[in-house]
């Protein structure tokens, strides 16, 4: 979608913004803009045209109205921990930071919900709910930093979403400002809302449909007990099969995670969790709930893991050790970050039964591309996070890492999976989106986007590739042997 011509000059636009924002909420000096030039996909940087840090919803409205009236693009930003370039600024647009919206407005223990501003950190919600014996379940590894607004925009997951669901399953209501600055309330304080389920649609919409200004999340009772098993395997295939067997046995672990040898060693060096570093792979399996329930489920899980080739099954002796087991898992990205100058995190999801085969193939691709790959992932969900190690200072290595990443994602689609399980498309996976979707689906996405934002001003160029781009990339989704967009004959 091409943007309409913008006539406004930067200086003139700044003057108009100054009328609706306090001085300190408006950044235009390149030095001040620098912190916003990228998200956690740091290989891509763009200096925003202007950045604003409003403090009130009224100010956000005013900014949106101004931008809308002058055809200025807007990119919303939470904490900037996104891994797909979703919050990457656009050079001719306003970067709208929601960082100052960091207040928890209400904890309602009787209704088990929390009303929070979009810039509240994920972990802060659980901390505020703790005195009531409640917590917010989705726990991305970035939870100390990432914001609930970003979580909703990405439909983020965490290690506990196998049992407790993703962000979309744990959000009751979202207050949104449209691109025109109109307020909308989606969902309700009950378990559903009137009309279409636009709340579901907003989850994972990557800032393309509106700006989230308030979120009501569901809180759950803190489980009275949580116990964790660590199972070691001598092959990654055996570990993959054991994961499928645990699910097949009718168990729903609170977490079911896997790390391969490379990740295991890196992590052990980093956090000293006591992992068996000689294992080809380790599976972490956590059960939570009432003590008696956990007792029964842990015993069953142990039997399944042992009968599916675990060389060792160890239970965390106490809470401290349990936390250690998880600290290692949650620190896996930074740990791998210490053993290579750069790493590139991939985020495909596959049917669980294909785990062993896909991991084997990733190993082959890793050799073929000459780049090491560590695997750490949400095994219970089939959500892979291959970490490709590379060195950006070696010419061509970033490109090679990206090419390997795309091969892995294509593989995920081939086995019936998806190119992104939780990190979003952003700018990063526009190419793989062309593999996963055909032209009719992409057209439908664009039509839906236009229903919210006809001018295409919110986070332009992200999440959904144009048909033109797919054609240019030559990555066409081939469905039933037919070329997807025959209308583009010149390609």
């Amino acid at each position: 979608m091409s943007l309409p011509e913008r006539s406004v000059e930067r200086a003139a636009f700044l003057r108009e913004l100054k009328r609706v924002l306090p001085e300190e909420a408006l950044l235009s000096d390149p030095e001040d803009l620098r912190p916003f030039e990228c998200d956690a996909l740091a290989a891509y940087t763009v200096l925003p045209w202007i950045a604003v840090l409003p403090e009130t919803v009224e100010q956000v409205r005013a900014v949106l109205r101004l931008c809308h009236s002058q055809n200025v693009p807007v990119v919303a930003r939470g904490a900037g921990t996104g891994l797909s370039g979703g919050a990457l600024p656009v050079a001719d647009g306003v970067l709208l930071s929601l960082a100052k919206f960091d207040r928890i407005l209400e904890i309602d223990p009787a209704n088990r919900m929390a009303r929070v501003q979009p810039g509240v950190r994920n972990l802060a919600i659980s901390e505020a709910a703790a005195p009531f014996g409640l917590y917010y379940a989705p726990d991305p590894s970035s939870q100390v930093a990432c914001t609930i607004g970003g979580n909703v925009a990405e439909n983020s997951g965490g290690v506990h979403c196998l049992k407790y669901g993703l962000t979309v399953h744990n959000v009751l209501q979202v207050s949104l400002l449209t691109v025109e600055g109109e307020p909308l309330t989606l969902g309700s304080l009950g378990l559903d809302g009137p009309g279409y389920d636009l709340l579901a649609l907003i989850n994972g919409s990557e800032g393309l449909l509106g700006v989230i200004v308030e979120v009501v999340v569901k809180l759950l009772p803190v489980p009275e007990t949580a116990r964790t098993l660590l199972a070691a395997f001598s092959s990654i295939e055996a570990a993959g099969d054991a994961v499928a067997a645990v699910i097949g046995a009718g168990l729903v672990p609170a977490g079911l995670e896997m790390m391969d040898n490379l990740t295991l060693r890196a992590t052990e060096n980093f956090v000293h969790a006591g992992y068996p570093i000689d294992a080809a792979a380790v599976v972490l399996c956590e059960m939570d709930g009432m003590a008696e329930q956990v007792e029964a489920e842990i015993a069953r899980a142990r039997r399944v893991l042992e009968s599916h080739g675990a060389t060792e099954v160890r239970e965390a002796r106490d809470e401290a050790e349990r936390r250690k087991f998880w600290a290692g898992r949650k620190a896996a990205f930074p740990a791998v970050g210490r053993i290579a100058p750069d790493y590139y995190c991939i985020d495909g999801t596959i049917p669980r039964k294909r785990l062993a085969a896909v991991l084997g193939r990733i190993g082959e691709l890793s050799e073929q591309f000459g780049l090491a790959v560590g695997n750490v992932f949400h095994a219970g969900d089939g959500n892979l996070h291959p970490l490709i190690l590379y060195d950006a200072s070696h010419p061509g290595e970033l490109e090679r890492a990206e090419a390997l990443g795309e091969e892995i994602l294509t593989l995920c689609v081939e086995v019936g999976g998806t190119v992104t399980g939780e990190h979003g498309v952003g700018i990063e996976k526009l190419g793989p989106m062309c593999v996963q979707f055909g032209a009719p689906e992409l057209r439908q996405f664009h039509a839906l986007k236009a229903a919210f934002d006809a001018g295409g001003l919110l986070n332009p160029g992200k999440a959904v590739p144009t048909l033109m781009r797919c054609a240019e990339l030559g990555r066409m989704h081939v469905h039933g042997g037919r070329l997807p967009h025959p209308e583009l004959e010149r390609f």
Binding site: N111, G165, V168, L184, L191, A296, E297, P351, F437, L448
Partner: protein, 353 residues
């Protein structure tokens, strides 16, 4: 099981209607017509578009064509010790898979195991242009593209004809027990709040003059929970849950207006009087009342939720509160994005088309 793929002919019918501008009325078995209301157009039946396309118990995923009987799907899941977590109502023996998802209704287990849309992972649809589109998939986590699949749940077929829907399924609990307590509503409400937030393995919490509590999980866990709580094991077993889910409970008998209120579980509905049946631990409430629509709708909104006239002998002009103008306008644009000619289930959601 009977299996037949009518995708092409269904899509053809929609494309044809789109070209001619003639409205279509999508029909599964017609079991929920009372809910959806009257709707104009030529009948488009999904009844012969049937079959479970994909089901692998270790993946916890099932994919079926929309004309498949809901009962057949549940039977297949039961053979593998699994179930639909949202415990959908059938409202008649013929309910189809497509109608179930299009209506988006969930049973008593909903607050603990999720709703229809929570379970939906992917779908194939025919949009109002007659194009066959696939969204989502058969994996648990998928954020590629907008989440169109979940949007289809509860849209009553106004955004597209559902061809296939994939959902996450759950293992059936090893053991299930229903307890029953004699108590007035005030006390029932207080216990619902307490148990709902207790971490006990609750999968049903309803009040109909007596308080019903369903516990589910491993045998040891359930018996411990029973010990902790006390109370009588209900003589009727799980009959009460079936009665709530299928609306065969005595409360639903009779012709008077039946309202559904979706509210925060601890909500106080103030002066709104009538007879109440409380489900979902307080989050879904059924009301029979002489109060007028305006009063019921306002009370639900004041409590942070919403209401809908679920059944009525003489449907009034107003079944639910009008959406806020900006939201209503957005609904119309979303509808137009899928069905620009407005041919699918025209008039079914008056707020939309």
């Amino acid at each position: 099981m009977h299996s037949q793929d009518d995708s092409e002919s269904l899509a053809g019918r929609v494309a044809e209607a789109c070209a001619q501008g003639g409205p279509l009325r999508i029909l599964g078995s017609g079991s929920k017509e009372f809910y959806a209301g009257p709707c104009a157009g030529r009948l488009l039946s999904t009844r012969t578009h049937t079959g479970i396309v994909h089901y692998e118990p270790t993946e916890l995923v099932l994919t079926a064509r929309s004309g498949t009987a809901l009962a057949a799907i549940e039977a297949v899941l039961a053979e593998s010790g699994q179930m639909l977590g949202f415990e959908p109502p059938h409202f008649g023996s013929g309910a189809t898979w497509g109608g179930t998802v299009a209506c988006g209704l969930s049973g008593p287990r909903r607050p603990w195991s999720g709703s229809v849309r929570d379970a939906v992972l992917g779908c194939r649809i025919v949009n109002g242009r007659g194009e066959v589109l696939s969204f989502g998939g058969q994996v648990m986590k998928n954020v590629a593209g907008f989440d169109v699949s979940r949007l289809m749940a509860g849209a009553l077929g106004t955004l597209g004809l559902l061809l296939e829907i994939s959902v996450k399924v759950l293992p059936r609990p090893e053991c299930e027990i229903t307890l029953c307590f004699e108590c007035p509503f005030a006390e029932g409400r207080e216990r619902m709040i307490r148990w709902g937030g207790s971490g006990l393995p609750v999968t049903g919490l309803a009040w109909d003059g007596r308080l019903h509590l369903r516990l589910a999980g491993p045998e040891q866990a359930v018996s411990t929970a029973v010990r902790r709580i006390g109370g009588d094991r209900a003589g009727e077993g799980d009959a009460v849950w079936n009665g709530l889910r299928e609306q065969t409970h005595g409360f639903f008998a009779g012709e008077g207006d039946l309202w559904r209120l979706s509210l925060p579980p601890a909500a106080d509905t103030g002066d709104l009087s009538g007879s109440w049946l409380i489900d979902w631990g307080g989050a879904q409430r059924w009301l029979r009342t002489d109060a007028g629509p305006a009063e019921v709708l306002a009370a639900a909104q004041a409590a942070g939720g919403h209401a809908r006239l679920f059944r009525s002998a003489n449907p009034p002009a107003m079944r639910s509160a009008p959406l806020a103008p900006a939201l209503a306008a957005l609904h119309r644009r979303v509808k137009a994005a899928f069905d620009p000619a407005g041919i699918l289930n025209r008039g079914l959601l008056p707020e939309v088309f």
